[in-house]
Structures are given as C-alpha cells and as structure tokens.
Amino acid sequence: MGIAMTRVGLALLVLLAALPTAAQVAPGPSAPANATSAAAAPPADLARRIIDDVEARMRGKASVGTLEMVIERYHRTLRMDFQEVFPDRSLVRITAPAEDAGVASLKRGHDLWTYNPRIDQVQKIPPALMLDAWMGSEFTNDDVSRGSSLKLDYETGSAEAATRDGVPTWRLVLVPRPDSPVVWEKLVLEVARDDLRPLAQEFYDERGKLARVLLFKDFRSMPDGRLYPFVWRMENRQEAGRATEIRVQAMEFKDGLPDAVFSQRGLKRGR
C-alpha cells in the first residue's frame, strides 16, 4: 500500500511538472507558423514603447513627397504627390497617368473628400462608403482617414516574441476600444526586436480570420536619423492575386504646412 501510494504520488508529481512545459510548446491561436518560444519575458512597458516608436518613426510634424502605387489586381501604376500634417491632414493627388491626373483625395480629421477634375466636383465620402477601395487599391477610405489612430482607437495587449523572415520580432495584439468606430476585430502589429521598426500589421475580421496584411519594407535612413519604410505593401489574404504596393519615391519631413493646402481650393489646384 505504501509503495503503491509512493508510485502514484511520483506519477502525479511528474504530470504536474510537465504541464507548464506543455503549455509553452503548444502554439497560441494568433502565433504565426514560424513562432518560437520566448527567449526572455518582454519588458513591462514594451507595448507602449512599440506604439510610441511606430507613431514617432512613421510621422513627422509634416511631410511632402511623391509615391508610386502599384495595383496588382488591375496591373496599374499611379504616380502621386502627397502632403501631410500629422495627425489629421493629408492631400494626395494623382500626377500620372495623364488620363487620371488631377484626381485628388483630401483628409481632414476623420473626414475624406475626393475631387475629380473632369467634372470639377468635390465630394465628401459618406460613412457608409468608408470601407470602399481608395483609388481602386487594396487600401480602403477608412485606412486613409484613420491611419494614425492606433493609440486612440486600440488597447494594447502584451507583446509576444516571434520571428518574421528570420528577423526576431515582437508581436503586439491591438484590440479596439469599446467606443471606437473601427471595423476590425483585432490588429497584430509586428516590429523588429532590435530597433522596434514596424515590419507588418495584420488585420483580422469579425470572424477572427486574417483579412489582409500590411508589410513595411525597404527601410532607409532619413536626414533626421530615423529609419523609414519606403515600401508599404497591402496584401489581401482572402482573395488571391490582390495586393497593392506603395513605393515612396521621394520624401521630406517638414515642420509644418499651410492650412490652406488642405482646403477645397488646394484640392482643386492641380486642375
């Protein structure tokens, strides 16, 4: 009896000791296929630092530049000029091809206007159409109008160690705040572990399925020392063959831009 109890007790002890190891080995639902177990626990304030760093890296006070947008679904390439004042003013205008030149998009706050020189008409995008494609791309009107509101609209969870294409990363889950008018069930922001530069942003729909991924590539040093991604690639993960790549051709950070730029006259100026 005593020997049997000892054997049972030992078996229970072994079982109890194995449980934490088993939990670590089993992958969680949001971990990518190439996740590895954490080498070390993330710092307590890491989530806040990641968001702050992304916002600071991706935005200056203001910026101007040119970019190319390649819409793979339609085999189209658009050239655009852009002007932006962080956090809520931007003006983008198509400069090529000639048939679409002058079409422009203005953001003020969370509102978006579009202008077409062919009919000389400014139209405000109504809320019901904010999920429509922006300029025919995989980016939506909502992306353009809400691009810089991660801090305002989402709550952060804890960061989880992972890798992406061989680069050690932190994956941060962002869940919408209860009163935020956002359409995604959750976002996952993945940043490089060494310098917190953003590598990918995953968008999950209301069913918890991965809808699309925004990849950041071609990081280059800016005059102020920051590393900035010159390629933004949005891939639709629910429909094959649909991706849009924005390639920044030239960019300059500025201290500010006149507010008159972001007006109806500014919107029409390119006609």
Binding site: Y74, N116, Q121, Q123, S263, Q264, R265
Partner: protein
C-alpha cells in the same frame, strides 16, 4: 335516379332546418373564397411590386453575381450575342432587357447659371472651405436601354409627373439675369403667350426666344455673346421640360462625361435635386480607374421597391458601359414572361439551356433572386390555410350538430323503414347522399356569391387606409385587390363538403346500430 329523387325529397321534409344548414354551408364557401381571393391578390401585388421594378420575372447572370454583384461578374458582348437570339426565341419569354449594375458616389452639381464664372464662383468657393462642398450619397447605379426596359419593368411609368412651372420660372429669371419678381413676370408672360395652359414645354420654346432677344440687345445683359445665349437656351430646355424617363436615343454621344439620369425619389430628396438639376457620379471602372461623369436629371421615380427609391440612379447603358471600360457588356439580362405564375418553371428551363450554351452563366427566377420575399409569401399562405382549416373545424362541429339533430328527429321514421325491410346500408347511403346534395346545392350558391364578392374586390379593392406597407423590402400597396383563381372555389367547396361528410359520420354510426324496436319506441 329514383334514389336521388327520394333523397332530395327528404331534404325538403324540414325546410327550415335544411335552409339554415344550407346557409351555413353556402356562407362558409363564400367567405372562404373571398379570403383566398384577397390573399392571392395581395401576394400577386407584392410580387409585381418587386418583379416590375428591379427583379424582373427572371434574370440571367454570371455565376457568383448574386453573392458579389460587382463589375467583375458581367456578361461579355460575345455572351450577350449568343444569349439574345435564344431568349428572343423562347416561347415563354415576353421581353428581355440588359442592365449594367455598379455602385458610386453621387452628389448635386452646383447650379451653373448662364453667365457664371468658369472657375466655380457660383459654387460658393470664395473661401475654399471644403465643408461647403455638396453632400454625397452612395448610390446603386443602373445602366438600362430605355426602349427595352419599358417592356420588362414599370420603371419608366414610375417617373413622377410634375408641372415644371416653378422651376421653369426660376431658371428663366436666372437665365435672363433678372431679379426674381421681374423675372417671374416677364417669363410668365412669355410662357402664357406661347401656350395658355403653361405646360412647361411651351415655356422652353418661349424662353429660348427671350434668350435670343437678350442677344440682340432688346433684353438685359445683351453684351455677353453667343456662348451666354447658348447657355441661356440650354437652361430653358433643361428646366422647363416636364419630367420624363430616359430618352430612347442616348443623348450627347460625342460627350462621354455628360448624360441623362433618373433618380429614385429618396435619393433625389437626400441630395436636394429636382428635374433639370445636374448630379455628379464618381465610381471605379472595371480596370480600377476612377470614372466621373455629370448627368442632367430628367425625372424622379417612385416605385414599389424601397431600395430603388432610396438609392438608385438610372442612366443609359451604352454610355455607362463605355465609361466603365466594359463596352457592349451588361451585368444581367432581365426577363419578363407571359405567365408570371410560371416564372420559376420558365427560369429553370432557361437555366438548363443557358448553362449548356454559355458555361458560367445561370438563369434565376424572382424566387431565387429574392428568397426573403418568397418566404414571406409562403409563410403568409401557409398561415392563412391553417387558419381557414381551424376555422372550418368549428363550422364542421356545427354541421355535425345539425346533421345529428336531423337524424335524431327521424329516428322513428328510420325504425319504420328498418321494420319494413329497408337495409341499414341503404338508409346510411341515403343520409350521406342527402348531406352531399344539400352541401353541393348550397355550395353552388356560395360559389356564385363568392365570385360576385371577388369581382367587387377585384374591381374596387379594399383600402387599408395606410400610406405605405413595407414587406421584405417591397412596398405593398395600400389598396388590395382580389384575384380570381380556380383554387378558391375548389378548395372552399372541397373543405365544406369534407366537413359535411365528416359531420355525418356519427349519425351514420347511430343508424348502423339502430334496432327497429328501439327506434319505434323513440319519442
């Protein structure tokens, strides 16, 4: 025959009882027929409200269009060339029409009064405030061929008639550059001179004459030249013409970014536009390019479809298709059939033909296109017939009571007949035959009265006294009309006869068990 004669004579033995019984049976038949006729009529109206506007009786579409109605799922010109003669030759198909379906952003184009600056000063752009730009609404854009569309839908007939007097005078004054009072007086005088009835069309002619006077110096602002005069005349032609559907011939074929449109009443109200005003449409083409165009509103329609009224802009198919980089293409072929009740069968037969001719295309009836409407109608019908049967169960109990009382009263008579050697079976058949004869005679009267009531409801209808009734996205009409159907008399008579026979079962059982001795003693 002698047996029938005897049964008929027995019915008349107690005339009061027989008349009362007959009244119950006849009234039941009449009431049931009326209810069924009203039910069938209301359902037909509901279906017509949907099929006569957006749905059609059937449609041919690319597979996947129902789930994702976008430009990618379209019918190519080659497919249309194959389908058109097939559909034309189909015996059951009365007419067909192509439609192109897309979505877009629509806004009111600021009124460009003749003589206004070209840099948009008339749009109130002085301060450059983008918040002053026109409100835009998402719209469901339909490209149609007006002549064909008239044969498959009532969209053209749904354009609200109007008297363009007010907007014509407003445009006239603005066109002549006069203050409102002076403009109204001068324009009204010119219009009345042209046509006392002041129908608007005459004002268009009169107004263009005024523009001519303006150019020759007899009117105000005579120094503006030919362009201003042309704009003046164009304004009259746009604002003084009565409301109408799209012209059969596509206007301005050499100007791809100008055209005509008809708006749903709800959309027009949200945008604040009227006939003669211009609206701007922006959307994406099938190749992802931005597309923008201006339309002059020729009419505002109000149909039986809530969705159509609130969101739809109709324009010419060929121009829209060319602008969307889909020349010659369409999204769907809408079909009208000769016998709407047979639409599902016609669509099924067409589906087999279409899938063999043009793989990837399907034909659907309105039931598949609007399953929610079909389910509502089905549930309504089932609940009606269940209610009728329950109601007639009560009537059946009444009939059982009547027939049982009749048998009880004649117990002694049955006793005598049994004692004289008549078989119980013959007496039982006699009872059943009497019941049937009385029921059929009463039902005949009931059918006549029921058809008369149906005729009244068919011609005059029943006014529900409400403005609008919305069912599954379709506007039901406030006045419901009854329909003549074979179902009504057949179902009604069969039900009453069935319950009558059921009611005679207990009395028949009593007769079967009757002993002549006991019957003779019965009092």
């Amino acid at each position: 025959m002698q047996f029938l004669g005897l049964c008929w004579r027995d019915i008349g033995r107690n005339r009061r009882r027989s008349v009362l019984t007959g009244l119950v049976m006849g009234f039941s038949v009449m009431a049931m027929m009326a209810v069924i006729a009203l039910n069938e009529g209301s359902h037909r109206q509901l279906i017509e409200s949907a099929t006569d506007t957006l749905l059609g009786h059937a449609q041919i579409q690319r597979e996947g269009f129902r789930e994702q109605p976008d430009l990618e799922h379209h019918l190519t010109p080659a497919e249309l060339a194959v389908l058109a003669p097939e559909v034309q030759a189909a015996e059951d198909v009365k007419a067909w029409a192509p439609r192109l379906v897309t979505g877009g952003l629509v806004s009111r184009k600021a009124h460009e009064a003749p003589g206004a600056d070209d840099d948009g000063a008339a749009e109130g752009d002085a301060g450059g405030s983008v918040e002053d730009s026109a409100a835009a609404e998402g719209a469901f854009v339909l490209g149609v061929e007006p002549a064909r569309e008239r044969q498959v839908s009532r969209l053209a007939a749904s354009v609200l008639p109007d008297r363009p007097r007010a907007r014509c005078l407003r445009a006239c004054g603005a066109a002549l550059g006069l203050a409102k009072a002076a403009g109204d007086a001068r324009c009204e005088a010119a219009c009345r001179e042209a046509e006392p009835g002041f129908e608007g069309a005459a004002c268009a002619t009169a107004g263009t004459r005024l523009c001519g006077e303006r150019a020759t110096g007899s009117g105000p602002r005579a120094d503006e030249g030919e362009d201003a005069t042309a704009r003046c005349r164009a304004t009259f032609l746009e604002y003084c013409e009565p409301a109408r559907f799209l012209a059969d011939a596509t206007p301005l074929p050499d100007q791809p970014w100008l055209g005509e449109a008809v708006l749903g009443s709800g959309l027009a109200a949200m945008l604040g536009v009227d006939v003669g005003d211009r609206v701007a449409l922006t959307t994406g083409t099938a190749t992802g390019r931005p597309f923008a165009t201006l339309y002059r509103v020729t009419g505002v329609l109000h149909s039986g479809s809530v969705e159509l009224n609130r969101t739809t802009l109709l324009t010419h198919l060929d121009k829209l298709a060319a602008g969307l980089d889909l020349p010659g293409a369409a999204s769907v072929l809408v079909l009208a059939v000769h016998y709407p009740a047979a639409a599902p069968e016609v669509a099924a037969a067409l589906d087999r033909r279409v899938t063999s001719l043009t793989p990837g295309l399907r034909a659907w009836s309105w039931r598949e296109l609007s399953p929610e409407l079909y389910i509502v109608i089905l549930l309504d019908s089932v609940s009606l017939y269940v209610t009728l049967i329950l109601m007639f169960t009560v009537i059946g109990v009444i009939l059982i009571n009547i027939v049982t009382m009749s048998v009880l009263e004649r117990t002694r008579e049955y006793g005598v007949r049994l004692a004289l050697g008549e078989s119980p079976r013959r007496i039982l058949w006699g009872l059943v035959t009497e019941t049937c004869l009385l029921c059929l005679a009463s039902a005949a009267v009931g059918v006549v009265l029921g058809e008369g009531l149906t005729w009244l409801m068919h011609t005059r209808g029943i006014d529900l006294g409400v403005d609008q009734v919305q069912v599954a996205g379709v506007l039901g009409q406030a006045v419901i009309y009854g329909d003549f159907t074979l179902l009504a008399p057949v179902f009604s008579v069969a039900t009453v006869l069935g319950f009558s026979l059921l009611g005679s079962l207990y009395p028949a059982w009593r007769i079967h068990r009757l002993r002549p001795v006991d019957a003779l003693r019965f009092s």
